[in-house]
């Protein structure tokens, strides 16, 4: 994984660990809501809002619901912060 993406991965890992209150959480690209019990539509919004804040980006209305996997989050952030 290139360095830019790796950094994003690390920062998103911290965000997920805070939101889900699990210091041992490890993220991988294919991870989805199905893999974390508390990841429902509400926490999804929390994840999106927190990522927007963390990386200084704003998602389109259409994108908010479309990001399904951790990999897609990282890709979107990478594109917007390149």
């Amino acid at each position: 994984m290139d360095q830019h993406r790796q950094q994003i991965h690390n920062r998103i890992t911290v965000i997920f660990r805070d939101i889900f209150e699990d210091e041992t959480l490890e993220l991988y690209d294919g991870m989805t809501a199905a893999d974390i019990e508390e990841w429902d539509s509400l926490t999804h919004i929390t994840i999106v809002v927190t990522c927007e804040k963390e990386f200084g980006i704003k998602l389109n209305a259409a994108e908010i619901g479309k990001l399904k996997t951790v990999g897609e989050f990282i890709n979107t952030v990478a594109e917007r912060t390149a």
Binding site: D18, I64, G65
Partner: protein, 614 residues
């Protein structure tokens, strides 16, 4: 307000050492209502780790009724701020856009939840036609929407006695007519302003308008509008504003439940004026002219306005008393008089001791004090010694003092009576009476010299807010510690209860309404359901005056007996013997209640030095 980045860590440390109260106090002091959503979530995570069992939180049940919007995350932020302000909140979150179903049906889950407060959470989009921009055919739109809300208010007051928070409309920033919008009577701007105006004009007892528009302006309307989240899942405003809305609501709940601050304790040097009176003298202190002189004057202006609306003012200064008083008496630019200050303490003692003395003399709790002092060392000392006193952080620049005092929302209120505006004078009168009492040689002489008068009357719309205030805030002279909302009081009277209100004036001033009694007819007797009295007027003869009035009422209604009820609590021991002292006989005694009876034929009226006022 800056948020220490290690507050979470410090709290964790305190919690690990079992210091939950300190952790909560630290979180309360450092949490910033304006902080963004991820930070609010951080506060929530910290709060979850704190054991609140000993926090003395007041339980409160609130029903949130979203109109066409989603309040899902908002309810958790509301819970955070309500907890920080001393409430244990139980929240009922109604489903999206189900206001009529929830509120018209007396068997709905919302009513089964038994809310203390119902928050009608509409926003601007609920006031305008949804499918188009308004045109000249929509000029009655505001009235139409108001009619919808009025039906909901009536349904609520028919089916329960909850207090209502009613949102006004948060005007959106986009304007088809641009600057000219307010001058078109049917523009979105005008319709929403009309709507907000109609709400204000029609706000009745038992409800308050929650000024969502003000908060949206404070936050910044463009940031507030977060369109992507509206389109995605109908969040009515930006997540980053949840903290601010929740904080304002929590402070309003404090106002509703009598937990707002009552008294502002003021330092003098470099707070009410620039410079130090002891060093700089009258000519040297900066007040009224020059940059910081004007700023201090504006603070005095704000403080005077607080006093005029009913906040008690006290001074706590490290100074010679005569020097400290000099600017009040002699400085031409001084706005505050000595008359405006209910209690003036200037000495070289520790400020925490002085503040304790202030609370004791004014007979109010420490938690109802706000202490304003430019000196961080004094602030830290008082905060440490008296954690229940609110001590706002003042920035270095006096230009920002008013802002620092105002943004804390310490004195939030939901109802305002004429009596509130006289409160400072009343407390000042008390301080004078205390001095007179100390100097009188016997009680009888003292009481006669007060030249007291009382007016007894039945409950009406003017006395309603004040009687509700007495009933809900009273703890010591409160025989049964009943708690009734204004709506409940009106309902009781409608169903046959008698509510008597008593005022008291004396040579020092008007104490206003100081006691309320609720009588419940029961067959051949009148039961005293509630007898509450302000502690400011104890042992002056009001007890006897009211006793005589109740006998008169009983005779007018030809009842044979008055039944007195005493429910002991840790706080009302002072009235345990009230009924026996007035001549009642004990009828029944259990651990939780005592019932007394006074036979009207044998009842004696008792002497006192209070003359009735017709």
């Amino acid at each position: 307000m800056s948020v220490p980045t290690d507050t979470g860590e410090t709290c964790k440390g305190l919690i690990a050492n079992g210091k939950h109260q300190e952790a909560l106090a630290l979180l309360r002091k450092s949490a910033d209502p304006a902080a963004d959503f991820p930070t609010q979530n951080g506060y929530l995570r910290t709060l979850k780790k704190i054991n609140l069992a000993n926090a003395n939180l007041q339980p409160l049940r609130i029903a949130l009724v979203p109109f066409y919007c989603s309040l899902d995350h908002f309810s958790e932020t509301l819970r955070l701020w309500a907890t920080l302000e001393g409430f244990e909140l139980t929240i009922f979150l109604a489903e999206f856009d189900t206001a009529e179903q929830m509120l018209f049906d007396p068997t709905s889950d919302l009513y089964a939840f038994k809310p203390d407060v119902i928050w009608l959470f509409n926003s601007w989009r609920d006031v305008l036609p949804r499918e188009k921009f308004p045109d000249c055919t929509n000029h009655a739109q505001a009235r139409v929407v108001y009619a919808r809300l009025k039906n909901l208010w009536e349904a609520i007051s028919t089916h329960c006695s909850a207090y209502i928070f009613q949102n006004n409309a948060d005007l959106p920033p986009d304007r088809v007519f641009g600057n000219h919008a307010p001058q078109i009577s049917w523009s979105r701007t005008s319709i929403l302003n009309q709507f907000n105006q109609i709400l204000t004009e029609n706000c009745g007892p038992g409800m308050t308008i929650f000024d969502l528009d003000y908060i949206s302006s404070l936050f910044g309307k463009r940031q507030w509008s977060n369109e992507p989240y509206w389109y995605h899942s109908k969040f009515p405003f930006s997540h980053d504003a949840f903290g601010m809305v929740s904080f304002h609501a929590a402070r309003l709940l404090c106002g509703l439940k009598g937990k707002s601050a009552k008294c502002l304790v003021l330092d003098l040097d470099n707070t009410l004026w620039g410079g130090v009176i002891g060093d700089d003298g009258m000519e040297g202190i900066r007040l009224g002219y020059g940059t910081d002189g004007e700023a201090h004057l504006d603070l005095q202006r704000y403080v005077l306005a607080l006093k005029q609306r009913g906040i008690i003012l006290a001074v706590c200064s490290k100074n010679e008393e005569s020097l400290a008083k000099q600017p009040f008496a002699e400085h031409p630019d001084m706005l505050l008089n000595l008359d405006d200050i209910a209690l003036f303490i200037a000495n070289w003692n520790n400020k925490a001791d002085n503040i304790r003395h202030i609370a004791k003399t004014l007979n109010i709790s420490l938690s109802s004090l706000v202490f304003l002092d430019d000196n961080p060392a004094e602030r830290a000392l008082v905060s440490r010694e008296l954690p229940m006193v609110t001590v706002p952080d003042l920035p270095e620049d006096p230009a920002l003092y008013v802002r620092a005092l105002d943004k804390g929302r310490y004195f939030e209120l939901t109802a305002y009576t004429d009596e509130d505006s006289c409160r400072n004078d009343m407390y000042k009168g008390n301080a004078c009476r205390a001095q007179l009492q100390a100097s009188s040689t016997d009680t009888e002489t003292f009481l006669k010299s007060l030249d007291m008068h009382s007016k007894a009357s039945y409950l009406d719309n003017f006395s309603l807010p004040r009687i509700a205030q007495l009933i809900n805030k009273g703890n010591q002279f409160h025989l049964t510690t009943t708690r009734y909302t204004e709506t409940e009081l009106l309902q009781k009277v409608e169903h046959g209860a008698i509510c008597r209100c008593y005022t008291l004036t004396d040579s020092f001033g008007d104490n206003g309404l100081i006691s309320g009694v609720i009588l419940q007819p029961n067959g051949d007797t009148l039961e005293i359901d509630t007898w509450v009295m302000s502690c400011r007027v104890l042992c002056r003869g009001m007890e006897q005056f009211i006793h005589n009035d109740l006998i008169e009422i009983a005779k007018q209604r030809s009842v044979s007996a008055l039944i007195g009820l005493y429910l002991p609590t840790p706080k009302n021991k002072m009235v345990a013997d009230l009924y026996p002292c007035l001549g009642y006989s004990i009828v029944e005694e259990t651990e939780i209640k005592r019932i007394f009876q006074l036979d009207i034929h044998q009842a004696k009226s008792l002497d006192n030095h209070i003359s009735p006022r017709p």
